[in-house]
């Protein structure tokens, strides 16, 4: 009898412990999912140069450096999705040099941002970050404004990397030129 009660008590505690972090995560989840959808949707409005995306069915690789929670959300979000005929794949770079092969690269706040941006520059990578201010090497910066995610486009960086961003996209963004 006592053993039985103990078992139930243990179970209740275990379930409560298991649920607790989920609830914490779900509070953050919309923000992660919105950002992940953002990355995915960005792919719709960008044209890469011919040698970066050779034909309409070439895959587009989205890389997430750092922020492992976000990386897995992105993986879930783009799972089985495509943009036009481009299949979307997700990659977690092991080193900064691997960013060169990404079409879109999100550089997390827990990485050395400047080093990453330098490594990606010159490889036609659409770099996305969430730093507090605009960065000369970053193409798109995400920021929160009245609890809404908004974005800023560095047109200088975009043209240096020969990325054509759709005017529809630009009409929604804050524009800077660094």
């Amino acid at each position: 009898m006592i053993a039985y009660r103990a078992l139930i008590a243990t179970l209740v505690v275990t379930i409560a412990c298991a649920l607790a972090p989920v609830r914490v995560q779900s509070a953050e989840a919309p923000e992660l999912q919105v950002r992940a959808a953002f990355l995915f949707n960005l792919a719709r409005f960008v044209n890469w140069p011919q040698d970066k995306v050779p034909d309409p069915s070439s895959p587009i690789t989205i890389c997430v450096a750092g922020e492992p929670d976000f990386a897995s959300t992105v993986r879930d979000t783009i799972q089985g999705k495509s943009v036009g005929a481009h299949a979307l794949t997700m990659h977690i770079p092991a080193s900064a040099s691997e960013l060169a092969r990404c079409q879109i690269a999100y550089i997390g706040e827990d990485t050395s941002l400047k080093e990453m941006l330098t490594a990606a520059s010159g490889h036609h990578v659409l770099t996305v970050h969430s730093a507090a201010t605009a960065q000369p090497g970053g193409v798109v910066r995400l920021y929160l404004d009245e609890r809404r995610i908004r974005f800023e486009v560095n047109t200088g960086a975009a043209s240096r990397e020969q990325l054509q961003l759709s005017s529809k996209l630009l009409s929604l963004a804050q524009l800077v030129n660094l």
Binding site: R44, S82, V83, G84, F151, S166, K168, L169, S171, L172
Partner: protein, 530 residues
């Protein structure tokens, strides 16, 4: 179908004036209605397709411009982009929907004045028409992926209003032109209907009065004018025909009376002919009776002659015997010889007298039958023999073989005289016509019973009768021996006797060179006197 027929019937009962007026007015207004309907529907269709093209391009532009805002969830930007449609007053509303799982959810909207609020979910893709106008639903795409829907609704009421004004104007024009064409038709119809009515009036007067001298008046040289001409010439022809018919009728009645007179003559001639025929039959009878008497004389002459010779021989011998007895020179042998001669002579005399008596008996019978025409029972075989016996004087010297095939005891109840005359004619024809070159042949008579009838065949194996003559042998006075013993009445009388007296039939068959054959059928027992 029924109503159509009734309509047509009612229409065709209308006076021609009204028909013409109606036709003219109707046809002109039908043309007007058709062209009005065509114009209005063309205007409506082209206005509508212009509106559709407009709303399509508006939707295209709006969908394109709001794609990014839709994707990035920027409602404010989307609303701002949609409100650019303010410059298009016909656009009532524009509604942008985002994908919400499998369904759609309203994302942003632009409403011009709140008349057409956006539904909560997007309608089916395509064009929808409703009272106020039409709405178009299309997908919002980016890179070929569907990211939402856009619905644009336009107000076509101004267009409809313009159209209604057009319809009103057209109907007014229609009514006016119907009235005008009715007036024109009313003014015009006497020109068309007048001559026809005139013609109809003349026709009616003629049929009522029977006066074919009336003529219709010709008012123009169109088809009706020609009709009037034809009508008049038809009247001319009717008049001529009437006259012709009158003449023909007169001629006919004259002919009829002439024919009647001729008929009368013919009847009289026929009557005379029949009388002549009866007389001829009578005289033929007398003639054959005369022949019979001659035959009898000839036939009896022989036995009587033989008897006379025998009697005179006996007389001579008796005188010789008497002489010898008186002179006492009578010898026994003389007496014996006389007895011998006397017996022989008396035998001869008796035999020949008997024969003469027989002949007379049978001639008497034939002669009685022929002249009296008496009906009686007789034995056919015997009677044929008797007839042949009476013909013997003529047949014997020709050397023809005469064959009779007839069963004995064949009793017949009929007119033997007629039968004798028939057979006599057959035989004398064979003698006269069948063997022109004089050599002898065969005459054959055969008779047998066949049911209630006697079938009698007579044939010779002489020259035969050519087919064209065979058809005419029974005709009175048909003969091939005119002027040399033929009168052409023999077979005619035979025919009448067989038909009228014996109550039977006769057929003739002949083949040139092979002979002639007559078949006579008559009742074995005649029912009653003909």
């Amino acid at each position: 179908m029924f109503t159509r027929n009734r309509f047509l019937r009612q229409f065709s009962n209308q006076p021609i004036r009204r028909k013409l007026t109606l036709l003219m007015a109707l046809s002109s207004s039908v043309g007007l209605i058709l062209s009005g309907v065509a114009l209005i529907s063309y205007a409506w269709n082209s206005a509508r397709s212009t509106a559709i093209r407009d709303v399509q391009s508006v939707a295209q532009i709006s969908a394109d411009s709001t794609a990014a805002a839709l994707v990035f969830g920027d409602v404010v930007a989307a609303r701002e982009l949609l409100s650019a449609l303010r410059s298009k007053p016909e656009v009532d509303s524009a509604c942008l929907y985002t994908e919400d799982g499998d369904a759609s959810a309203l994302f942003a909207q632009y409403l011009q004045n709140g008349v057409s609020p956006c539904p909560a979910t997007a309608a089916k893709v395509g064009i929808h028409e409703h009272l106020r106008g039409l709405s178009l639903v299309r997908e919002v795409e980016q890179n070929g992926d569907r990211i939402g829907w856009l619905q644009v609704q336009v107000n076509l009421q101004p267009l409809t209003h313009t159209l209604m004004v057009q319809v009103g104007i057209t109907v007014a024009i229609l009514a006016a032109s119907f009235a005008v064409s009715l007036g024109i038709a009313w003014l015009m119809q006497p020109a068309l209907a007048g001559p026809i009515l005139d013609l109809a009036g003349v026709a009616r007067r003629i049929s009522e009065s029977g006066d074919y001298t009336l003529r219709a008046r010709r008012l123009g040289s169109d088809e009706v004018g020609r009709l009037v001409d034809d009508f008049n010439s038809m009247l001319d022809q009717i008049a001529i025909r009437d006259r012709d018919i009158e003449t023909a009728r007169d001629a006919l009645s004259q002919q009829v009376s002439e024919k009647t007179a001729a008929n009368q003559d013919l009847l009289e001639a026929l009557d005379r002919l029949q009388q002549t025929q009866a007389q001829l039959v009578q005289s033929e009878r007398l003639a054959s009776l005369g022949g019979l008497v001659a035959g009898v004389a000839h036939e009896i002459n022989t036995p009587v002659g033989v008897g006379v010779t025998a009697a005179s021989t006996l007389q001579d011998r008796a005188r010789d015997l008497e002489q010898a007895y008186k002179t006492d020179t009578l010898r026994r042998s003389d007496l014996e010889r006389f007895v011998e001669v006397a017996r022989e002579s008396s035998n001869i005399i008796l035999r020949n007298l008997q024969r003469a008596a027989d002949l007379i008996q049978s001639f008497k019978q034939v002669a009685v039958d022929q002249s009296s025409g008496e009906r009686r029972r007789f034995d056919l075989r015997n009677y044929i023999d008797e007839v042949l016996l009476s013909l013997a004087p003529r047949t014997k010297k020709t050397g023809h073989r005469i064959v009779v095939e007839c069963p004995p005891d064949l009793e017949v109840d009929s007119y033997p005289g007629a039968l004798a005359q028939v057979l006599t004619n057959f035989v004398s024809n064979s003698l006269l016509h069948a063997f022109p070159d004089g050599h002898s042949g065969e005459l054959r008579i055969s008779a047998q019973r066949s049911g209630d009838w006697i079938e009698l065949h007579y044939s010779d194996n002489g020259s035969g009768i050519p087919p064209q003559d065979l058809k005419r042998i029974y005709d009175p006075f048909f003969t091939t021996k005119r002027g040399s013993g033929g009168s052409g009445l023999g077979l005619h009388i035979v025919y009448n006797l067989v038909q009228q007296i014996l109550g039977g039939t006769i057929e003739a068959a002949s083949e040139i060179g092979a002979g002639t054959r007559f078949t006579v059928r008559f009742p074995a027992h005649l029912k009653s006197k003909p």
